[in-house]
């Protein structure tokens, strides 16, 4: 260190700051050993075959796909809520938030960096789970083809192989998995919003879980609100609050139908994904609005 320091220039927006916070957040979350659940995931999908060994190959593949994508949904959702709920409280309690915000880091960049860290974690988790799923599905497919070669008459072999391929991986699973990711990202954004004003992380988690459950019946409230002619004023207000505040999570719950072969047209996928991204952005910005005025 040499001469007396002089005034420095400030960059209003810096990707480097955001990426420093994001990569640090990702590292922090990975160190929580969250990926041990991957073991559970692998065990679940491999274990599911024990319950279906006496079934036809179509039934076995169906159960394998259902268990895999169901487990992906639940694990990414849990990861989203638990990882995000602790982000701000931990930094506030440990006072690391003060050392970060005492640097020339806008609160927006801090929050965005934290959120991107969570999104990266979810992306890695879902990619790993997808890889395990594809490997297990491919292995089972090869087993089924080998069995067909052994037991199916020659004239029916190629039809059987076609049936096996048809029952196995279908390309609609890719947009299905993308929507699972978007849904978990939405839950993360919602949890982040809740944590900006919640008094404890337990409150954040409980509220997030409740909103998740109500979010799956929100369309019923919405329809009842839009249709109602004779309901009482109080009921109408209640339905309005649910319809307006709670996110419509059924619009992002398409994988149950996709996994049984229901194709998702491209336009509908784009609209659904667009809705998911809009939710994420709105929840993030509202969370930032609250956080920007938070007394630390």
């Amino acid at each position: 260190m040499t001469a007396t320091p002089t005034a420095t220039q400030h960059k209003a927006f810096s990707l480097a700051r955001i990426s420093a916070i994001a990569s640090n957040t990702l590292l922090e979350l990975i160190r929580l050993k969250v990926f041990y659940f991957m073991l559970l995931f692998a065990l679940l999908i491999i274990g599911s075959s024990f319950f279906t060994s006496k079934f036809t190959f179509q039934e076995q593949f169906q159960v394998l796909k259902d268990v895999s994508l169901g487990a992906m949904s639940i694990f990414t959702w849990l990861l989203a809520v638990l990882a995000t709920a602790m982000l701000l409280p931990k930094d506030i309690e440990d006072r690391t938030l003060y050392t970060i915000l005492a640097k020339p880091v806008p609160r927006f960049e801090y929050l965005l960096g934290k959120f991107i860290g969570v999104l990266l974690l979810l992306f890695i988790a879902i990619s790993l789970m997808s890889a395990v799923f594809v490997v297990v599905l491919y292995t089972r497919e090869q087993d089924a083809i080998a069995n067909a070669a052994r037991y199916v008459p020659d004239n029916a072999y190629s039809d059987q192989v076609k049936s096996i391929h048809a029952a196995c991986f279908n390309s609609n699973l890719v947009p299905g998995i993308a929507i699972i990711y978007l849904k978990s990202a939405l839950c993360a954004a919602l949890t982040l919003l809740l944590s900006t004003f919640a008094s404890s992380w337990i409150f954040t988690i409980i509220t997030s879980v409740v909103v998740y459950l109500i979010g799956h019946i929100q369309p019923i409230a919405r329809q009842a609100y839009l249709d109602s002619a004779t309901t009482s004023h109080l009921t109408k207000v209640f339905l309005a609050v649910v319809a307006l505040i709670i996110p419509d999570l059924t619009s992002l719950s398409l994988v149950d139908d996709i996994v049984v072969g229901n194709a998702i047209p491209m336009l509908i996928f784009v609209k659904t994904a667009g809705l998911g991204v809009t939710y994420i952005c709105v929840y993030f910005f509202v969370g930032y609005l609250v956080f920007s005025g938070k007394e630390l």
């Binding site: 159960v63 849904k183 369309p219 398409l254 609209k271």
Partner: protein
Amino acid sequence: MNRRVVIAILALLVFGVVRMPFEAHLEKEHKAAYFHGANLDLSLREKIGQMGFLAALSGFRALVADFLWIHAHAFWERTEWGGMKVDFDAVTALQPRCLLFWSQAAWHMAFNASVAALEDPKQPREALRIKAQREYWKLGEDYLLRGIANNPDVYNLYGDLAFLYREKFKDHCKASEMFAKSAKFPDSPVYTHRFVLYELAQCPGHEREAYEGLLKLYKVGESERLPTLLKHLGELQEKLNVPADQKVYIPPAANP
């Protein structure tokens, strides 16, 4: 800080107002593309219990359905057909777009349960055994009809229903009708268009129509001149008294 929380809530309400029509419209589009067709009503809740219903509502319909499917097969091992039916009803309500469930449920009722009912050693009266058998056929038919109502955009269940009419009800007219519906789909199996005519050939009052169709196929060439087609063609030639010089196929027995 409290002021900002109030502004945040207002922002969410405004967002809610803006997104409501879009979401309502998207829901209609989803339903038109056969998503969210599951019928999650109170009767289902009674069948699958509170936790199952909650899981189904929370986006885990497929898992609950699979669990019930496996449960149904436990009933199958004990030949408890009633228990199987309850589970099948719940499974198909949860996953109405899963062809496998409709198809297999129908097969179990119409082909397994019906045979078990006909051979039921606990029922000495044959008339009642036959009645029970036919009731199970009808249950199978019902599953396939409901399956088709939920999946009108695929060929598979039409084909399954056609087989059911052919094998169990011996109703060749309905079988032909269903094969015809299946054949309309570009990805239906290659044999379907032939089966339409085979069944039509056995449907009283439609012999001429069947004959014209089979003749057309015969004229396509060797690839269509399969033994069953030739058999039906020969039979129809006799039934319709086709003049000898117009007959395109002479069955082997008639050859000197």
